[in-house]
């Protein structure tokens, strides 16, 4: 299948943080969730793909094209939504639309009007007077009005109320139904991805922990629960992460057959959520 986004060994070093050989890829027609705790490197990766930051090493291909050599062509085909509003607060959505429209080869005035109406955005109100949800919707209206083949979104749902968040997720699902489009969506609110994502890339402390289909991930990992003291210290290595309290333990593991052999019916094995997986991976590193 055609890769819409390929990232290979992307590296960037800051004082106190390193994005370390980040690699993953995404095919057309999918929504990829890019998850990780705050400060894991999600925004840095997105900024590197968008050439807002200069990479130290590695490469990023968008639509099979080098993201720097073909920057203008790529940006004509990419729609972006960031975690905060960067549009001019002193202008109205109408004025901002007038400025941006001529910059895109495939700008579609009808689509812009459609999304402005759908999101009930006031055209003549200054952007600074719009609510956070409205600002995000405006960013989305711009991103969807030039027939973008790839949407790159950095924490678009953070700070939004559940109604707006759900509306956004519905739109993303609609977009990904077209086989030639894709959505790359970073968030630390994993419940959003439980609903819409097809594949997940998990980044932690600047390194990719895994990148694969969401269903495979949820299938590969299991949440294990049992009585306190059941897991001996030397067996803790069978778990990605484990937490214990006065009532018992709960841990994330991969090899459910082995655990079943070891503990029989003394444990309960459940399907984890993405949040469980993120939590235990993060905790493992903290405990390491």
């Amino acid at each position: 299948m055609d890769k819409i986004l390929q990232v290979q060994n992307l590296t960037k070093t800051f004082k106190g943080f390193k994005l370390d050989n980040v690699s993953f890829s995404m095919e057309k027609g999918y929504i990829m969730g890019f998850i990780g705790p705050n400060g894991a490197g999600k925004s840095t990766t997105i900024k590197l793909i968008m050439n807002l930051l200069k990479k130290d090493a590695g490469e990023a291909l968008v639509f099979g094209l080098d993201h720097i050599r073909h920057e203008k062509e790529i940006k004509n085909r990419v729609g972006f939504v960031y975690d905060e509003n960067y549009y001019y607060e002193e202008l109205t959505p109408k004025e901002m639309g007038r400025i941006i429209a001529p910059l895109y080869k495939n700008w579609d005035d009808k689509a812009f009007s459609h999304y402005i109406r759908r999101f009930e955005l006031p055209l003549d109100k200054k952007i600074k007077d719009l609510s956070k949800g409205m600002k995000m919707k405006f960013s989305l209206a711009i991103a969807l009005s030039h027939n973008a083949e790839l949407l790159i979104m950095d924490e678009p749902t953070s700070g939004l109320d559940p109604i707006v968040r759900n509306e956004l997720l519905d739109i993303l699902t609609d977009i990904s139904r077209g086989d030639d489009k894709g959505v790359f969506f970073s968030t630390h609110i994993t419940s959003d991805l439980d609903k819409v994502a097809d594949c997940i890339t998990f980044i932690h402390e600047g390194r990719i922990v895994f990148s694969s289909a969401k269903d495979d991930i949820l299938e590969n990992y299991c949440l294990v629960k049992g009585a306190r003291g059941l897991v001996r210290d030397e067996d803790r290595g069978n778990f990605i992460g484990i937490k214990e309290n006065q009532f018992g333990f709960e841990g994330l593991a991969q090899d459910r057959k082995k655990l079943r052999r070891m503990y029989g019916e003394n444990i309960v094995i459940e399907k984890p959520t993405l949040e469980d997986i993120m939590l235990y991976f993060t905790r493992r590193n903290q405990n390491a």
Binding site: K47, M50, N51, L52, L53, K54, E71, K72, E73, K75, N76, F80, Y82, Y86, Y87, Y88, E89, E90, L91, E95, R98, I99, I100, P102, L103, Y104, K105
Partner: protein, 219 residues
């Protein structure tokens, strides 16, 4: 490029309207002054420079570089638009001045209006080019907030420099007198071409420096 220029005009529409009013007000001030020509140049420079810096300030306040560099725009266009706006502001200020002198003249509100001359326009253009050529690379390097101190030094230093040159000529500084004598031997056309050429050369060099800086910027 045109979109970015439209963006600055929309952002600064209130400042532009205020500048136009300020110019009309200055017409009345010029009428009572002996050295109206130099005041005209200073006034033009002040307006153009203020508009340029205000455009930079609004870009900085809105962290606009993130959006601009996410749009299908090359960095050379983003930097170029900022320089082209200097020309737009000069042309705007001159047109407003000419229109205002015509209207005020027709209404006979002021007995002696100061008519704008090509030398004065070129003088204003050279001065603003000099200021913008120094300020814009600093802005692209440090952003508006950090470059504010340079902006003040530059703006007030410029007027200090002009008075320094004037007093140098008055006190018989041989270098300055030599330059003045050389210029006095040239025709108006040659002087005009020299001023315009110097201004354009300054802007071209400054644009090259700004672009080099901006290409290495991270957002």
């Amino acid at each position: 490029m045109l979109s970015l220029m439209l963006k600055d005009i929309l952002l600064l529409k209130k400042t532009i309207a205020f500048s136009a009013l300020y110019l009309v007000f200055m017409l009345f001030v010029f009428a009572s002054l002996d050295n109206a020509a130099s005041v005209f140049v200073i006034c033009m420079v002040a307006i153009t420079y203020m508009l340029t810096v205000s455009g930079c300030a609004l870009d900085d306040k809105n962290k606009a570089d993130v959006i601009l560099n996410s749009l299908p725009l090359s960095r050379s266009v983003i930097v170029g638009a900022r320089y082209l706006m200097v020309f737009v502001y000069v042309i705007f200020a001159v047109i407003i001045y000419i229109l205002a002198t015509r209207v005020v003249g027709m209404m006979h509100l002021i007995p002696s209006l100061h008519p704008v001359s090509l030398e004065e326009v070129l003088g204003a253009f050279l001065s603003i080019s000099f200021l913008a050529s120094i300020y814009l690379p600093l802005y692209f390097k440090f952003g508006y907030i950090k470059s504010r101190i340079y902006h003040f030094i530059l703006f007030f230093g410029m007027f200090f420099g002009i008075s320094l040159v004037a007093s140098g000529i008055a006190s018989g500084n041989p270098i300055l007198l030599g330059i003045a004598a050389f210029l006095s031997r040239q025709s108006e056309g040659v002087i005009g071409a020299m001023i315009a050429g110097t201004a354009l050369a300054l802007l071209a060099v400054s644009y090259g420096i700004s672009l080099k800086i901006y290409r290495n910027r991270e957002f």
